[in-house]
Symmetry: C2
């Protein structure tokens, strides 16, 4: 005779889950089909204030909601990344099978701080890490960890850099009272780099932003000039943060040139390949990453070019031991109880996160089901679509490119319109979704071509749409 | 005529997703039913080395995997949190409906750094934040953000503390060269607190661990002693980190007493309620949190007592403006393009994360479907089960308690056995799962009663099982 209250029993009832689950799957499959058919808007804009009062009024306490209907409404009112006219952020329409893997990992809910918390999840993560390291061209002895997002990934890598190159035990002693530490990065680097530096307490001067060249790349020359200035100001530069696929333009910094300089100057080389890491799986474009195998650390978001749902970020180290240096610490109730030494299988020693999602399962199954070559095909298509879009812009009389696209990010503008205003109209109309960015002082429209179901004709229709809104 | 290659078209085919999705739902429903029936082991132990070679050998590149079979194998070889004999970490068997919500959020994949990236996800998050703030008893003007895990949550709160109480612009100027900053916390505080402090560069001396009293609580007296010592050592204490549900024993620090002291000394009060925050939804146990409404910041993991799949962490501030002070920064391509001022709807300004999972949807639907009172029922059951377990231990002649359980965490040991060795045998046997911890110098067995489907008879069988392994 069970003592479990009926309301609890009912909430956990496997048959209820089965029934709701089938309904949710059908709802999602229908939504996917609708988006692929270009039906409905991409961005159901209501304005933040209106949205807040609309969603804020739903009672959270009464127990009167209906799961499938609530979720269907959520889907309908969200930005439709699966719609081929969504050409905006570096966020993909996720591979549908990976979403199923995420659901499985969520129900299993195996935290991964120690092996026994994830007896399948931990070895799967290590297999994925090993695969990613191999694809970067890292030698034996490389390693790393998966974590929640590129920003946390960059912070993790820079903590390892600090511990390795500060010249003292920064974790234990603190950086207060030591030398003024700095990194050099490009003026185009992602905001998470300066965020990580300010988190570590180095202040805004801890980031020395060297100017980019005409291709938006950080060159060895610019770094040398920055290094000279920094030293004159008594700042101790311990590393360089390069980009492999910068956020603004998708530019790839010349990694071999920067690695040479780091070798010479004994600097840590971190490559933020959150966006561009995926091209390692494309034989066509892999050479853009030439030199990345020389980086001390790399951040690579599988939730960008590898089409995983957010968040699946790899932080990879050429020497695995650095993975343990980011967080030089132990917790009695987890790590120290039985084994005093550090073990590869206790992932909590290498990540900020204690309980961690079993995010590797998504990528592991996707690789097994589709094969590595499939990812290369997707990337090649994203790049060729972007080039086709660039050609259409160049061929037009009323639009212009900011630069030839390097990968799948493209910045462009209408020659005469107020482009910020134009973008506002696009967003509020909702049939297409594009974003914008400033390059130097100039505002440009910006699209990342993430959806491999986009067709070249979608670009013709986007340009027509933009003209109609000028 | 589509130009999409067939392999890509097939991977994104909504009908393939529908077919695989139904199969995955059935597989998961069956696994749930099996676990609830106490069939099979809780922990399929193979040992980390064996597991690594087993899972490491699966080819990742060939495209020969089968999604549903791969996921079924993953489920089978994972720790079964849904099994009522799982009595281990502070990780719940997630509410099955919340797993469906996570799947929906994953397919939708709406990043949330700015409103337009999540036109439903952003207002839903804000509605959830408002609900949680209200339940803590925070006054109007409170606010916060959801983030990936309690460790990141504690770091976020402590960054806001630093910015508010350091006495200078720590974000901009850095902490290098300024005063030696510190926080006081209990010797039982979670390792993420000292981790956050070392990340910020304050070093190990940045955490002053005051001894706990006989109930494992941080008292005002202990803080005053620590404060005195710190000042003699020229360390500038700017805050106290209290626990509401400590990790080791579930103890609740006396928040009103600590808040009084913080008022008097002008210290920031952060409450790590990652575990215990949930009792705010239990009328029976809510008084354990008395005083939490006076905390400057609170971290509350919904993936603990609120039964969400990991990770859903709320970082809440009594004054919403502090939510913006943790990361005092902007990014051209996101925030600055149209609106120079900070907006409540651009969540990227308040979290380390740029792309963020729409994790609020899980809790929002769960609250709407089950109602707030349901969560209170679950917590009350967890607590009463834990008390029943404690009584059985006390009534036995061969086991003893470390302390009367405060909530749903219980530390105990066999009076004569080598308890660390005993636990090792439990783990390798796999029919039950318990963990262990050190309290002071003594090793104890430790269970967190998370599964509301556990019955009192499961404890009888656990004690018998332990005796049989002595």
């Amino acid at each position: 005779m069970s003592s479990v209250p009926p309301s609890i029993d009912h909430a956990y009832d496997p048959e209820r889950f089965r029934r709701d689950g089938h309904a949710v799957i059908d709802m999602l499959a229908d939504a996917l089909a609708k988006a692929h058919a270009r039906t409905g808007v991409v961005l159901p804009w209501h304005g933040p204030e209106a949205a807040r009062s609309e969603w804020g009024e739903a009672p959270l306490t009464a127990g009167s909601g209906e799961l499938v209907a609530d979720l269907a409404r959520f889907v309908e009112r969200s930005t439709q990344l699966a719609h081929p006219q969504c050409m905006a952020h570096q966020v993909p329409p996720p591979l549908p099978g990976a979403v199923l893997a995420e659901a499985v990992a969520a129900l299993v809910n195996n935290g991964m701080a120690v092996y026994e918390m994830g007896p399948a999840a931990v070895p799967i993560e290590l297999a994925v890490i090993e695969f990613l390291c191999a694809r970067l061209g890292y030698p034996a002895g490389a390693g790393g960890v998966l974590t929640s997002g590129g920003s946390l990934g960059n912070l993790t890598a820079l903590l390892a850099m600090r511990q390795s190159h500060a010249g003292f035990d920064a974790w234990k002693q603190g950086t207060h009272g030591g030398p003024a530490l700095s990194v050099i990065t490009s003026s185009d680097s992602h905001y998470s780099v300066s965020r990580a530096i300010s988190i570590m307490g180095w202040g805004e001067a801890g980031v020395i932003a060297a100017p980019v060249d005409e291709h938006h790349r950080l060159t060895g020359h610019a770094v040398r000039v920055a290094l000279h200035t920094a030293r004159n100001q008594n700042r101790r530069v311990i590393g360089i943060v390069a980009a492999a696929g910068s956020t603004a333009t998708g530019a790839f910094d010349p990694l071999n040139e920067l690695a040479d300089l780091c070798d010479r100057e004994k600097l840590w080389l971190h490559v933020d390949a959150a966006h561009g890491g995926g091209v390692a799986l494309s034989p066509t474009h892999r050479q853009k990453l030439a030199g990345i195998e020389r980086a001390d650390s790399v951040v690579w978001d599988a939730h960008k070019l590898l089409m995983m749902p957010a968040l699946v970020t790899a932080v990879l180290f050429k020497q695995e031991r650095h993975a343990y240096e980011a967080f030089a610490q132990r917790a009695s109730y987890l790590f120290a109880e039985a084994h005093p030494e550090t073990h590869w299988w206790d992932l909590g020693t290498r990540t900020l996160e204690c309980t961690k999602r079993a995010m590797a399962v998504e990528l592991w199954t996707a690789l097994r089901v589709h094969g590595e070559a499939w990812f290369g095909e997707v990337i090649d298509r994203q790049v060729s679509l972007t080039r086709a879009f660039a050609q259409k812009i160049t061929a037009s009389s009323d639009f212009e490119l900011a630069h030839e696209p390097e990968l799948n990010i493209i910045c462009y503008r209408h020659r005469t319109a107020d482009n910020a205003e134009l973008r506002r109209r696009v967003v509020e109309d909702g049939r297409f979704y594009i974003v914008g960015t400033k390059l130097g002082e100039d505002y440009y429209l910006r699209s990342t071509i993430m959806n491999p179901l986009t067709e070249e004709t979608d670009f013709d229709r986007l340009l027509e749409h933009l003209r109609s809104l000028c």
